[in-house]
Amino acid sequence: MASNKHTIVALVADRPGVLNRMASLFRRRGFNIDSIAVGHSETPHLSRMTIVAEGSDTQVEQIRKQVEKIVDVIRVQDISGLNIVSRELALIKVKSTPETRSEIMQIVDIFRAKIVDVSADSVMVEATGDEEKVDSLYNLLKPFGVKEISRTGRIAMARGDQGNRRDENEG
């Protein structure tokens, strides 16, 4: 069975323990979560989660159905097959000296990333984009010495009308 990365988007009630329920379900069904990102949605008291997990289509379909059974989950969709926009945010702290700073800045420019903090011996770079872009930027910065990196994991949304909204007429 072909195994590949799936992006699952879930609209969930903002209740304590929802993230725990979700993570517990993936763990219990033997699924590795690559990343999970949560934040408020357009509706008060509802959050949107983006989960990236690896598995065959049938496995992921099973996990989607199991997720749907969580009472606090209002809607869940595997958007992998759809036309989607996906992004992640990364903060990368790179060692720098007066000699290397301009070279780092050039690389940062090429990736349309930003320098958001500068100290005597390091700069902090903020980058957004899909994972490949963040990976490439990271690879280019590595030779300078990366002190710290923090990535949010993927958030994603289907383009146009195929989204994961809550129906207006839903209770």
Partner: protein, 562 residues
């Protein structure tokens, strides 16, 4: 008028029609227990261990079709519910468990008897709640009962901090629930139902598999109509036993590891399966790759996640079994499958599956079960533990009465039988409940004899005493060179144990005494226990070895009559 949290809980239970609670008190539910005496309509039954409460509530729910309720205190009380919650979860039993929790201000400080029970029970409950605001309590109870009892039923836990039990507020019981994320599908998709009817009309060698879902939705009549109209052979899963009368000419018994040879052969040879309210558990299907290789599959289940989980399905129908069968029955017309049925009957003649009991001077466990069936004329609810005796009870009692076989199918919980038999008896006062216990299984919850005595519940107990953890010993015999590691089991004198609980009991060692003893048990007014000392190394046949296809059947080796 303001009510305390404890009163709100009790009022809410009354609104839900609860009349029986199985439970065990403790510090963090004291306010609730204090209040309980103001509510004489809520009969609280004190068990001897919280596991007893949860299994009793489980069986009470299975026999009545209502939501079973149990109470426990925080920490150790709550964690003692774990096995029973997992059991109810995997067997889809509607239940609400209320646990006490330390006061809100103490939560998270490792206070005395604090356990994160909502965290612990996430994977084994359908849903759970930690109530942190008394204003949420009534709504929580309403939701809990709704979630437990609808869709695919399951246990819901409510964790209630002690200070909330004491605090007071106005009581308003909501008229309806508002759960946008919870909408079970009841009616089947009409197009899929039509497709199923078409496949059924075309099939030459169809088989109907009936599971627990038939019993849960009470679809006996609809299932019978479907089977009779299309002349479908009906095979059940373990939990499907008593979904279809076994004396019916279309009944071909149970499938799976200890199912009948002819049932398993029929499934292997069929060209269409209509699976009704079952979940293709590995004990039922054997090796999936070898399962029903020629069959297309129609699967009806209320839980969409069950469809396609283990077996590839051609026509999925999500919905309540009864509702779907009513619709499906409108789409079908009479058919016959004489040749196919003759073939299965022929297999039945060729491979009688060891259901005839061989001659023996010693007491065979099968013989005991068969005699209980004969003496009760099948008019009993049978509750079992887990092990060989469970399989013998499945094979040798013939279930015609709907919903009359209560067993721990999914989790296989030893110790289920005694508290469950008590719970079933509580739900079925005046009816005969037989508890078929294993000597090992019985000892896991034997203290519930105290509950049975205190409540004077007329449960009849047959301990099938082989001096071994029999089912494990059987595997050791067959697959581990007879290395009986940790399976010989010393047993106390069960008669004296029973007498210590003031329950009449006897020990039967002679075959001729089996029937008279069963008669004495039936004649006794209250509970009665029989310790049947049976052939120690009897095995359950037929058997499909673990990991094999279900048609790879081991039959009973010929034993010389002794």
């Amino acid at each position: 008028m303001k009510l305390t949290g404890a009163q709100i809980l009790c009022e809410s239970l009354l609104k839900e029609g609860v009349d029986t609670i199985f439970g065990y008190p403790g510090g963090q539910v004291l306010p609730l227990y204090h209040t309980l005496t103001q509510y004489p309509k809520l009969r609280h039954i004190l068990v001897r261990h919280e596991q007893g409460a949860v299994h009793a509530a489980d069986a009470y729910a299975r026999v009545t079709g209502r939501v079973g309720v149990c109470f426990a205190t925080s920490g150790p009380g709550a964690t003692n519910l774990i096995t029973g919650l997992a059991n109810a979860y995997i067997d889809s039993v509607p239940m609400v468990a209320v646990t006490g929790q330390v006061p809100r201000a103490m939560i998270g400080r490792d206070a005395f008897q604090e356990a994160d029970i909502t965290g612990i029970t996430i994977p084994i409950t359908k849903h759970n709640y930690l109530v942190m605001d008394i204003g949420d309590l009534a709504r929580t109870v309403k939701e809990a009962f709704y979630i437990a009892g609808t869709g695919r039923p399951g246990p819901v836990l409510i964790d209630l901090p002690r200070d909330i039990q004491q605090e007071a507020t106005e009581f308003h019981y909501p008229a309806r629930v508002n759960l946008p994320g919870y909408k079970p599908t009841l009616a089947g998709n009409p197009l899929q139902v039509k497709k199923a009817a078409k496949l059924l009309a075309e099939a030459k060698k169809p088989v109907l598999i009936a599971g627990h879902g038939v019993r849960i939705s009470g679809a006996y009549h609809e299932l019978k109509h479907l089977a009779e109209t299309l002349q479908l052979p009906v095979i059940t899963t373990l939990l499907g036993i008593s979904a279809f009368p076994e004396s019916h000419e279309l009944s071909f018994g149970m499938m799976g590891m200890h199912g009948s040879a002819y049932a398993n052969m029929a499934i292997t040879g069929c060209d269409l399966i209509i699976a009704v309210g079952m979940r293709f558990d590995d004990r039922a299907t054997g090796k999936i790759a070898a399962f029903a290789p020629h069959a297309r599959v129609i699967h009806i289940d209320i839980d969409p996640a069950e469809i396609g989980k283990n077996v590839k399905v051609d026509v999925p129908i999500v919905g309540d079994v009864k509702t779907v069968l009513v619709e499906l029955n409108k789409e079908i017309s009479a058919k016959r499958h004489d040749e196919w049925l003759a073939q299965i009957r022929d297999w039945k003649r060729q491979y009688p599956s060891g259901f005839e009991i061989r001659e023996s001077d010693s007491i065979l466990p099968q013989y005991v079960i068969r005699k209980i069936w004969e003496v009760t004329k099948g008019d009993a609810t049978v509750v079992t533990g887990v092990g060989q005796h469970q399989m013998f009870a499945a094979q040798h009692f013939f279930y015609d009465k709907p919903n009359s076989f209560i067993t721990s199918g999914g989790l296989g919980t030893m110790g289920f039988e005694l508290p469950a038999a008590f719970g079933a008896q509580t739900g079925l006062p005046g009816q005969t409940v037989w508890c078929i216990a294993g000597d090992g299984s019985f000892q896991m919850t034997v203290q519930e004899l105290g509950t049975i005595r205190q409540e004077n519940a007329p449960v009849k107990v047959a301990v099938i005493n082989n001096g071994y953890l029999g089912m494990v010993r059987q595997w050791q015999e067959l697959f581990y060179e007879r290395n009986y590691s940790a399976t010989p089991l010393w047993c106390p004198d069960f008669v004296r144990i029973s007498e210590a609980y003031s329950i009449p009991a006897e020990c039967v060692t002679k075959k001729t005494e089996v029937v008279p003893a069963i008669n004495r048990a039936m004649a006794a007014q209250g509970p009665y226990i029989i310790n049947f000392v049976v052939e120690p190394e009897e095995n359950v046949y037929p058997m499909v070895p673990p990991g094999a296809g279900i048609d790879q059947i081991l039959h009973e080796p010929r034993k010389e009559a002794s």
